[in-house]
Subunit: 363 residues, 3 copies
């Protein structure tokens, strides 16, 4: 508990935790003030995400690399997972998919781009381990193909949720999970020496004691689930009152909120000239969502959703994921970074954000 | 003849030759048992392809590099060519195109992927000559553009076989053949030193005497033509009885059967840490089909087909070729291979196979 | 004046200047003979473009790198800009866009391809600075995404000129101009040492005195504007009489004419084994058009056009720009060139030209 309080004192982001009780009070007293609830839940999720991220890292630091990797896969994107499961149970598949696709695109373009930019403003040229960037880009490429090919090969036939489409989605979901597992086996076990400098990056922050970490994980996950429920209920009404399209909210706002904590770590790594850490967080997190979280949600939807969810995304979302994958490949292919590469990635992200902001809503 | 018998004794694949006479007997006695004929013709084509491949290599070994390259271009994909010509004469253009596109995709993804995987399971990291992989990927890129651009630029107007489309297809076919010829000139003549280690790979198996090789070529080509005729007649009825879509049969089954012999050579090369041989066979064979066999069939269709065939492929096929080309570029760009790169290519292939397997048939 | 006459004596291209007065006489006497006016205006634009290009380089040589870069951005594609403004004022937005897209594609594929081919026929293997090629390819990628994403993400909704589309186009235009400015800041200021050998290329030709250069700039710009007006009026009628589609004229003919002078410099650089000069001219010019000229025209259309112009291109044009960008990336990624890479780029260009030549006109 002393660790936790000290952490809170040193990390101003965690002061936002005060909004968690405020949110619950407002949700109880004024359940119809959607805009206020939306703002409060955004403010409350940010510090919770930071706590989760820190607790996960502490648990991972205690275990070996292989187990730590698995833990990261399962817990690293816990905020996104909990938000998505909440939306899944509410049957809001459009929001689930928008938030997954948005998280991938935001991690690849915004998180990586700002890291490159901030790092590049401080350091003239930065080097990083190309092997990891190439592995992550390859996995993202695989996931994009799995989303892209069925709809293109089948013409218009798969986009409606037909039994065929559901069968194919199940198969593809399993394939992606296997691909993700093999990728971890490759980078953490059989060829770990190729990914060396990326490995060294976990040691930085003094980890919490394992008991505190596990307790935090448990408690915070429950709180995040409660907050997310309020968030998912309020987001669409609130967005309209701000004049935002639902696509913009799902893609940009939710993704930036859900990734706040990881972004803080990634940006700080870049400033400290530890770009392998930044690349690992940004691309690794995107890969986890694409090859682990999204497929697991498809499998879960057969158990907990009102109806099974398929793996077909709105075509515009697939295009953005494909472009994000290509951009990641372009900006990381040299193994060296300077500020302008960050600008490139951010500008591609800005093109997406502008397009989504002005567009009429999509089914 | 002694060489031939010894070859048959040492190569268990050739024992399948026994199915050739069996097939002809069944085709004569029970011409309506399509499923049986389909299975028998598959079993008969595999050893014939192996014989053709071996005879071609023996002829190529006697001649110089330039002539050998030309021979390889003309004879290397002889099985595919004979199957395709048989289907062309029957006017089954959909099958012709599916088998060509399927052969390209199967060579690039499955043959290369399994080679990388098998090689990588035995050897930790394998190196290969990047120059050849880049040349082949560049040629495949050119072919994909030639198939992709007309339909995208023209909107829907070119996909029906109009006189305009036929004129354009003729022009593009000639352009691809010229591009293929210049590529050979570049890699075998003007800049052969850049492709050095790939050159050294032809010496391995003791070649047959030239007379035996030429005689085998002549006889086996005729037999393959006869077997292919039965295969093409039986494949569609048989596929339905297996519950396979025609697209799956054309893309996956025919391509795996037609490439059986080359796959054996490619996999064995990878196990022996001669990855240049594997890359050369897998990508080189795909390039031959895309830039030589397919265009030649378009030209031939004006002479022997019931009607001229154009170079327009079903959009899904073009997408798969484009993705295969991009995958080839991704997995070969480093000039080094490990088992996971093979897994990546195989998984992309699996996505295609799963999609084709569950989809309703396409025109 | 002595400089100018000497220049004309030494540069046979400039002898074509005689067609300028001829054109004006014919335009006055026989304003309806469109085919003759088309041919004469083509012949007149070529030497004027050469003069403009030379005068611009002379002015740039007097100033520092940063200012020189800005001058190049503003003046380097002056011919294209003047042609486009003339068409813009006439409300011929289709022609404006076709000529911009055609200039990009022609510079990237034809100018770069022929440079690699001509250089490669004389020199076995040529090296060039990869950093500049990668920067230009990155900028082109950004521009292509800005043109591609809105229409793909929005489905069919943005392609008509709606207020939403115009708002988005304004935003994207500003974003591209900022991206271009930052790219110049990066390559000319903060990281100029990475682009070293490309810098050295401006010194070659003895520059004109600054007074002559500025006077030439002023006079020739006015003349080009007058000639362009005749060209834009005559081109569509003339093209039909030659049996060319308007798309072929806008994309291929106008682009080859407008780029004639730059091509001469680029090809001559390649023959002299100064490939950095060729890459800088070909890709740099394409980047200028995509990220500076086209956005500026969108902004200008709000002031001088009969109606605002958006940044949406005909889908086929976007596809060709995307393919051109990918080709540029493929052929320049190694930092080394040989003749076959030039052939590859030229063949992609030939596929475009053939497709546009046979196609029915597009809206």
């Amino acid at each position: 508990m002393k660790h936790l309080l000290e952490e809170i004192r040193h990390n101003p982001l965690l002061w936002l935790l005060v909004f968690v009780p405020v949110l619950f009070v407002v949700a109880h007293r004024a359940p119809e003030s959607h805009t206020l609830l939306f703002v409060l839940s955004v403010l409350a999720i940010v510090p919770l995400a930071a706590l989760l991220s820190h607790a996960t890292e502490s648990v991972a630091a205690k275990t070996g690399d292989a187990v730590g990797g698995l833990l990261n896969a399962t817990l690293g994107n816990l905020t996104e997972l909990v938000i998505a499961i909440t939306a899944l149970r509410a049957g809001q598949y459009m929001l689930v998919k928008a938030s997954l696709a948005g998280a991938i695109v935001t991690n690849v373009l915004f998180m990586l781009g700002v890291s490159f930019l901030l790092g590049g403003l401080k350091h003239h040229v930065q080097e990083f381990n190309r092997a990891n960037a190439r592995l992550q880009a390859g996995l993202l490429f695989l996931a994009t193909i799995a989303l892209l090919v069925p709809s293109l090969v089948a013409g218009g036939d798969v986009t409606e949720t037909s039994p065929t489409s559901l069968r194919l989605s199940l198969g593809l979901a399993l394939l992606l999970i296997v691909g993700y597992g093999l990728g971890m086996l490759f980078s953490l076990k059989t060829h770990r020496e190729l990914f060396a400098s990326a490995e060294a990056s976990g040691e930085e922050e003094a980890p919490w004691p394992i008991g505190l970490a596990l307790a935090t994980l448990g408690v915070v996950t429950v709180v995040v689930a409660l907050v997310s429920e309020i968030f998912v209920e309020s987001v669409q009404v609130a967005a309209e009152s701000f004049g935002m399209t639902p696509a913009f909210v799902g893609f940009i706002v939710v993704a930036l909120v859900g990734g706040a904590a990881e972004m803080a770590s990634s940006f700080s790594g870049a400033r400290k000239n530890r770009l392998d850490l930044s690349v690992g967080i940004a691309l690794g997190s995107a890969t986890q969502i694409a090859l682990f979280v999204a497929p697991v949600l498809v499998l879960l939807s057969h158990v907990i959703g009102p109806a099974p969810m398929d793996l077909q995304f709105w075509p515009g979302a697939v295009v953005m994921m494909l472009v994000a994958t290509m951009t990641a490949s372009v900006v990381t292919s040299g193994g060296r970074s300077a500020w302008f590469l960050g600008v490139l990635a951010i500008m591609v992200y800005a093109i997406f954000a502008m397009t989504l902001y002005v567009l009429p809503p999509q089914g």
